[in-house]
Point group: C2
Chain length 242, copies 2
């Protein structure tokens, strides 16, 4: 591996590993070669491989089991990874997702700027419903540039049980990770109330997030409205205690 590049070595190793994952060299939950073997393969030391893997573990691309190996992590959806816990605490429950609609729209000024597109650029607008045990608790609207995700078929989304993050990965090779997240409290309007099967003016937790790819480029904009009467939202903890 060349030392001439502008990036540090472990960054290059990281990209090589990502490329290998993209190429399907190791399946989900399949173990990678050991750190020492990867070191030989890339012509670097074990410490450098480790630093690269550290970063991928922090981004939940990989996970490790001491004494066993390093494994490729699944791509659960962002909302599926956040825990929904009762206000008192304990028993986090994971929701399931149902696809509502998937249509093509134009970006408009604000979204174009956020996603770095032209104003007339085409976007997929995907609406999904979140359920916990049959109960509807959330509505999410995602916006994806058509240029990066050319053919989003509803059938395909349904096949993956509504998991758009997995679809972006499997069909378009884009591994998304969280960028910024913003929280607000809003009142349900008529549209939200109807889709969430609740009342107008119910308080909803609004979650606005920008997902980026592994080069940090903005990729997906999303807004979610969550009912939190019975279940509070708890964001996933990446890289817990060091």
């Amino acid at each position: 591996m060349s030392k001439l590049a502008a990036q540090p070595l472990y960054r290059q190793v990281l990209r090589e590993v990502m490329a290998a994952i993209e190429a399907g060299e190791w399946d989900e939950d399949e173990s990678l070669p050991s750190e020492t073997d990867l070191a030989k393969r890339f012509g670097v030391s074990q410490g450098t491989v480790r630093k690269a893997l550290d970063a991928l573990v922090a981004d939940a691309v990989l996970y490790r089991r001491q004494g066993v190996g390093t494994f490729v992590a699944g791509t659960s959806d962002f909302l599926l990874r956040g825990l929904f816990t009762t206000p008192a605490g304990a028993d986090g429950v994971k929701p399931s997702v149902e696809l509502l609609s998937c249509v093509k729209i134009h970006a408009g000024e604000q979204l174009a700027e956020i996603l770095g597109l032209r104003r007339a650029a085409a976007l997929w607008q995907v609406r999904r419903l979140l359920r916990v045990g049959g109960q509807v608790i959330g509505l999410e609207e995602m916006l994806l540039p058509e240029a990066n995700f050319p053919s989003l078929e509803m059938r395909r989304i349904r096949e993956l049980k509504g998991n758009l993050r997995e679809l972006c990965w499997r069909d378009f090779g884009v591994r998304l990770k969280d960028g910024q997240v913003r929280y607000r409290a809003v009142l349900a309007g008529q549209t939200e109330a109807r889709l969430l099967m609740t009342d107008v003016n119910e308080p909803l937790l609004q979650l606005v997030r920008l997902a980026v790819d592994f080069e940090g480029r903005p990729q997906v904009w999303s807004v979610a409205w969550l009912r939190t009467e019975e279940l509070a939202f708890e964001p996933p903890v990446l890289s817990p205690q060091v």
Copy 2:
């Protein structure tokens, strides 16, 4: 430094560094000795010191400036560190804090369990108001075990401009960091509406958090109610891209 301890070496170094900070060896925004000097002092290698400092940087105890040094970070309050941004994005604004009240109460069953105390244990209940440019946008109630923070004087809190986290640090040597955080959307009740100088039934972002010390022990329980009509809440990002 002994190799016999159950903990890895870099953990011991981390504790030594924390102890030195607690002892006031280096002031806020003052630079620590270089990594190589610290390595000599603790009798370990530079790489080990670095790993310890990495963890403290991730927890925002220290910050680094390449080519310059490693510095002790300030202890801004949790809410002061979260950004308040306009829904459209950009211009994050930091709020100031005003102390409302500070009284002693009994823990009760739930809080006792969360904080690992007896049910009759005494707690300080501190209420604070958050302002952005004169406008009241938040109300926070914190609960601190009296055993750990024996004398919480209102005067002292005011001296530190309402920054309870700094007080816990300066007066009691407890450096707090975020544990779990949970989000909900609720409607303002009469009490909240009065204190926030707004209307009943305004949607409020409710933020429930548990702060822990550096050994991971629960220390402070807090609930905040935030108005997010004009400003969204954006949690602080620790350890961004690796």
